[in-house]
C-alpha cells in the first residue's frame, strides 16, 4: 500500500511540474502588455515603461520561471501586477468562496443523484424509473448559466427567498454567507447529480443480475436487502471514479457560476486576471487549481486501492 501511495505521489509531483512549465510558457506567449492595460490609452510611453520596470516585466523568461517556482515552495506566489498585493493573499480570500461552493455542490450532487439512481434502479422499468431518468437527461442537457439565471428569476426576483448573487463574508454573517451559496451550488450540482443518478442506476442494474446477489437471495435475503448489503457497495466503485472526476468538472464549472452570481471566487479571479493580463495571478491560480484537482484524484485513487486491494498491484493506473 505504501509503495502504491508513493508511486502515485511521484506521479502527482511530476504532473504538477509539467503543468507549471506549460502554464508559464503558454502565458508568456500571450500578447498584450499589463502595464499599458493598467494605464490606459492616454498614458505616455515613459509612464508605461516606468510601470513595466516597477513590475519587473522585462526580466528574462527562465529567471522569472525559476523565481516563481522557488517562491511557491516558501508560499510566496509573487505580487499581482494590477492589484499590487501578494497573490497568495488574493487567492486565499477567493478560496473561502470557491471551496465551500464546490464542497456544497459535491454534497448536493451526491445527496440528490445517488438516491435518485438507487430509487430508479429498484423500480426498474416502472413509470417512476422512466420519469426520473427523463429528469436526469434534462439535468445534464440544460446549460448551467441558463439554469442559474432561471433559479435567480424564481427564487430571488419573484419569491425573494434568496439573494440573486454576491457574497457576505463568513466572518460577517455565516448564515448570509451560506444563503449566498445555495443557489450557485444548486446550479453547479445539477448536471453532476444527473450524471451520478444515471451511473448509479446503471451500476445497480448490472449488479442486480450478478452472481453474488443470487447467492445472497438463495441464502434467504430479499432482493432489497441483497441489493443494499452487497449491491450498493459494489456499485460504488464506478461511482467513486465518477466522483473523483467530478471535482475537476465542478472546478471548471465555478467560472460560469461565479459569473452568473457575481461571487468573489477563484474562477472569476482567474477569468478577470486573464483579461487584465495579470499573468502572475493567472499562473499561480491555475497551479493551485491543478493542485486541487490532482490532489483529489490522488486521494480517490488511494481510496479506490484501499477498497479494492486487487488494484494495488496493477502497474500504472
Amino acid at each position: 500500500m505504501i509503495r502504491f501511495a508513493l508511486t502515485k505521489f511521484l506521479g502527482l509531483a511530476a504532473t504538477l511540474l509539467v503543468a507549471a512549465a506549460i502554464t508559464f510558457a503558454a502565458l508568456d506567449i500571450l500578447p498584450g502588455d499589463p502595464a499599458r492595460f493598467i494605464l490606459g490609452i492616454n498614458a505616455t510611453p515613459d509612464a508605461v515603461a516606468a510601470l513595466r520596470e516597477q513590475l519587473g516585466l522585462d526580466a528574462p523568461a527562465l529567471q522569472r520561471f525559476f523565481s516563481w517556482i522557488g517562491g511557491m515552495f516558501v508560499g510566496d506566489f509573487g505580487l499581482s501586477y494590477t492589484q499590487g498585493q501578494p497573490v497568495g493573499q488574493l487567492i486565499a480570500g477567493r478560496l473561502g468562496v470557491t471551496i465551500p461552493l464546490t464542497v456544497i455542490a459535491m454534497i448536493l450532487s451526491a445527496g440528490i443523484g445517488l438516491p435518485i439512481g438507487i430509487l430508479a434502479a429498484r423500480r426498474r422499468g416502472s413509470f417512476a424509473d422512466t420519469g426520473l431518468m427523463v429528469l436526469a437527461q434534462l439535468g445534464v442537457a440544460i446549460p448551467n448559466f441558463w439554469f442559474g439565471m432561471l433559479l435567480v428569476l424564481l427564487f430571488s426576483v419573484t419569491l425573494r427567498w434568496l439573494p440573486p448573487g454576491g457574497f457576505v463574508p463568513w466572518g460577517e454573517n455565516p448564515f448570509a454567507a451560506f444563503a449566498s451559496l445555495i443557489l450557485p451550488s444548486i446550479a453547479l450540482a445539477l448536471p453532476q447529480a444527473a450524471i451520478l443518478a444515471r451511473v448509479m442506476r446503471t451500476a445497480l442494474v448490472d449488479v442486480q443480475g450478478s452472481d453474488y446477489i443470487r447467492t445472497a437471495r438463495a441464502k434467504g435475503l430479499t432482493l432489497s436487502e441483497a441489493v443494499w448489503k452487497h449491491g450498493v457497495r459494489n456499485a460504488m466503485l464506478p461511482v467513486l471514479t465518477i466522483l473523483g472526476l467530478q471535482f475537476a468538472y465542478l472546478v471548471a464549472g465555478t467560472v460560469i457560476v461565479e459569473n452568473v452570481f457575481y461571487l468573489p471566487g477563484l474562477g472569476r479571479l482567474i477569468f478577470d486576471a486573464i483579461s487584465a493580463r495579470d499573468l502572475i495571478l493567472v499562473r499561480s491560480s491555475v497551479i493551485i487549481l491543478v493542485l486541487a484537482v490532482i490532489g483529489t484524484m490522488f486521494l480517490t485513487d488511494l481510496a479506490y486501492a484501499w477498497v479494492d486491494p486487487r488494484l494495488r498491484s496493477r502497474k500504472a493506473e
Binding site: L39, G84, R94
Partner: protein
C-alpha cells in the same frame, strides 16, 4: 414538531440576510459593472477607480460639477495672473485626511511633484506636463507656474488624476485610499464589494448618506436581477437594452443623461483605402446613425457629426455634412477606384456598443459593396493591435475623455490623421483663453474634422442609469468619470 422548529429557525436565519430598514435610509448599495483593479486614481486609467473614489474619498484643488463646470474644492478660491502663466490657489482651512493628518500646501506640492516626476505612473501625465513649478507660499497658499497658457488648466486640476494625496499615505492608496473627501474607505472584499462610510471630520457639507457599498456585477442579466430583487438600489450606467424592464416598473426610475463619450467608427487614415478622402466620404454617406443608435444603444444616445459632445456650449451640429445617401456613396467609391467596393477588417473591443454596433455597421456598409470581417478582441488585444501597433482598418470605440478634440492634431495618434490645417487650429486654440475666440476656433475644428470625414461620427454615448424611485440627487450627466455620492439621498 422538531421539523417546524427547524424550519422556523432556518427562516429566521435567512431573515438576517435582508438589509432594508423601514425609516428613511442613509445607506446605499450601488451596482458597478467593472471592479476597479486598485484605488489610486493618480496611478491608473480605469474608469471604475474614479467611480468609487472621485469626489467621494479624494478631492482635488478644484472639482467638476454636474454641468461640467469648474468649482472650488480644496482650493476655496484662486487668482490667475494676466499672462495666464501663474495660478495662486487659496486652500481651505481645517481639512484633514482620513488618517487624521492635516491638509496643507505641502500636500499639494507633494501631489503635483508626484504627477510630474520622471518616473510618474500617472495615466494622464501629458495633461500636466505644462506645469513648470509648484511652490507653497505658506501653509494655505500654493502657486503653480505653467510653461505656457492653458485654457483647460483649471479643468485638469479638477480631474481624478490630480486629486490631492498625502505623503504619509500615498504609497498605500492603491489598497487603502486615504483622502480628504466626505467618505472614508472602510473595506474592500475583492471580487465582491467595497464599502465607504461618512467621514466625521469632513471639512465641508456632510452628505446625506452614511454608508455606501459598491457591488461589482459583471453580468448584465445579473445586474437586472439584482435590481429587481432589491439587493442593490441603483446602477449609474447599465446596458441600455435592459431599461424597458425598469421603465415599466414604478419602483424604479430611469435616469438618462449625456457623457463625454464620442462613439466613432475609427478609420485608419494612414492606410489605403481610408487614406482617400472619397472613400471616407462614401462611408459617411452609408452610415445610418438612427439604426446604429437603435440597435447598439437601444435608442439612447445623440447623433454627432464631429468629435464634440452635443451638450457642450461650443457644439455645432454637423450631422448633415454627409447625409445618408447610398447612391452618392457608390458614386464616390467608383470615383475612388472601387466600383465593386472592397474588403476590410473591423476590429472591435469587448463592449456592447462596439460588438453590436459593429454588426450593424457591417450590415450597412455591405449595401454599398464594402465587405467587413468582424474581429472581436479583448481590451488587451485592442490596446496592442489597434491602439499601439495601429494594425487595423476600422474599429469602433468611444472616446470618453472630456475636451479631447486635440488628439486629432497628433499625427502619431492611432487615427493616422496628419492635417496641417487642423494642427494650426489646435495650436492657436491652446494659446487662447478668451471664451469667444475659443468658441470660434472650436467650431472651425469641428467643421474641419466633419468635412474631412476623418472618422465615422456615430453618436454621443448616453449614461443610462437605473435607480430606486425613492432616491434623488444622483448626477444625470457624466461630464467626467465618477459617481458622486454627496448629493444622493433617500426621499423616504
Amino acid at each position: 414538531m422538531a421539523l417546524r422548529t427547524a424550519v422556523a429557525a432556518f427562516a429566521l436565519a435567512l431573515s438576517f440576510v435582508g438589509i432594508a430598514d423601514a425609516a428613511p435610509r442613509t445607506d446605499l448599495r450601488i451596482g458597478l459593472v467593472l471592479e476597479p483593479p486598485a484605488l489610486d486614481p493618480t496611478a491608473g486609467a480605469a474608469a471604475a477607480i474614479d467611480e468609487v473614489v472621485y469626489q467621494n474619498v479624494f478631492e482635488g484643488l478644484t472639482r467638476i460639477d454636474e454641468t461640467g463646470a469648474v468649482q472650488p474644492a480644496l482650493a476655496s478660491s484662486w487668482d490667475v495672473s494676466a499672462d495666464g502663466l501663474s495660478y495662486t490657489f487659496h486652500l481651505v482651512e481645517g481639512a484633514t485626511f482620513h488618517d487624521g493628518t492635516t491638509f496643507d500646501a505641502d500636500d499639494v506640492v507633494f501631489t503635483y511633484g508626484r504627477i510630474t516626476a520622471a518616473d510618474s505612473v500617472n495615466a494622464q501625465k501629458a495633461l500636466y506636463a505644462g506645469i513648470d513649478s509648484v511652490t507653497a507660499v505658506n501653509t494655505s497658499t500654493v502657486e503653480l507656474k505653467l510653461k505656457g497658457p492653458d485654457g483647460l488648466f483649471l479643468f485638469n486640476v479638477g480631474r481624478g488624476d490630480a486629486v490631492i494625496v498625502a505623503p504619509e499615505s500615498a504609497a498605500n492608496n492603491a489598497n487603502t485610499p486615504i483622502g480628504t473627501g466626505p467618505f472614508k474607505f472602510v473595506n474592500w472584499q475583492k471580487g465582491a464589494d467595497l464599502t465607504l462610510e461618512q467621514y466625521a471630520g469632513y471639512w465641508g457639507t456632510k452628505p446625506a448618506l452614511t454608508k455606501v457599498t459598491y457591488v461589482f456585477i459583471n453580468d448584465a442579466a445579473a445586474r437586472v436581477n439584482a435590481l429587481l430583487a432589491g439587493s442593490i438600489d441603483g446602477i449609474n450606467n447599465t446596458d441600455a437594452s435592459t431599461l424597458p424592464v425598469f421603465k415599466a416598473d414604478p419602483r424604479f426610475k430611469v435616469v438618462v443623461g449625456s457623457t463625454e463619450g464620442e462613439t466613432l467608427l475609427v478609420q485608419n487614415n494612414a492606410k489605403a483605402p481610408f487614406s482617400d478622402l472619397k472613400v471616407r466620404q462614401a462611408i459617411a454617406h452609408s452610415l445610418d446613425r438612427a439604426e446604429i443608435i437603435a440597435g447598439a444603444s437601444s435608442g439612447y444616445g445623440t447623433p454627432i457629426g464631429s468629435h464634440f459632445p452635443p451638450h457642450s456650449k461650443d457644439y455645432v451640429d454637423l450631422t448633415g455634412t454627409y447625409p445618408y445617401d447610398l447612391d452618392a456613396a457608390r458614386k464616390l467609391l467608383a470615383e475612388a477606384g472601387y466600383p465593386d467596393g472592397f474588403s476590410a477588417t473591423l476590429k472591435l473591443p469587448p463592449v456592447p456598443y462596439a460588438t453590436v454596433g459593429g454588426q450593424i455597421v457591417a450590415s450597412q456598409l455591405a449595401k454599398v459593396g464594402i465587405k467587413l470581417t468582424q474581429v472581436n478582441l479583448d481590451w488587451n488585444q485592442w490596446l496592442t493591435d489597434v491602439f499601439t501597433n495601429k494594425d487595423y482598418d476600422l474599429t469602433i470605440i468611444s472616446h470618453v475623455e472630456p475636451f479631447d478634440i486635440g488628439i486629432y492634431a497628433d499625427p502619431n495618434y492611432y487615427f493616422g490623421y496628419n492635417d496641417p490645417d487642423f494642427q494650426a487650429i489646435m495650436k492657436q486654440l491652446n494659446e487662447t483663453t478668451d471664451e469667444a475666440a475659443r468658441k470660434e476656433l472650436l467650431i472651425a475644428a469641428q467643421k474641419r474634422l466633419a468635412e474631412q470625414a476623418v472618422n465615422g461620427y456615430l453618436f454621443e454615448l448616453a449614461q443610462t442609469g437605473v435607480w430606486s424611485a425613492k432616491l434623488e440627487g444622483m448626477w444625470q450627466n457624466a461630464p467626467v468619470e465618477g459617481v458622486v455620492l454627496s448629493g444622493i439621498r433617500w426621499t423616504e
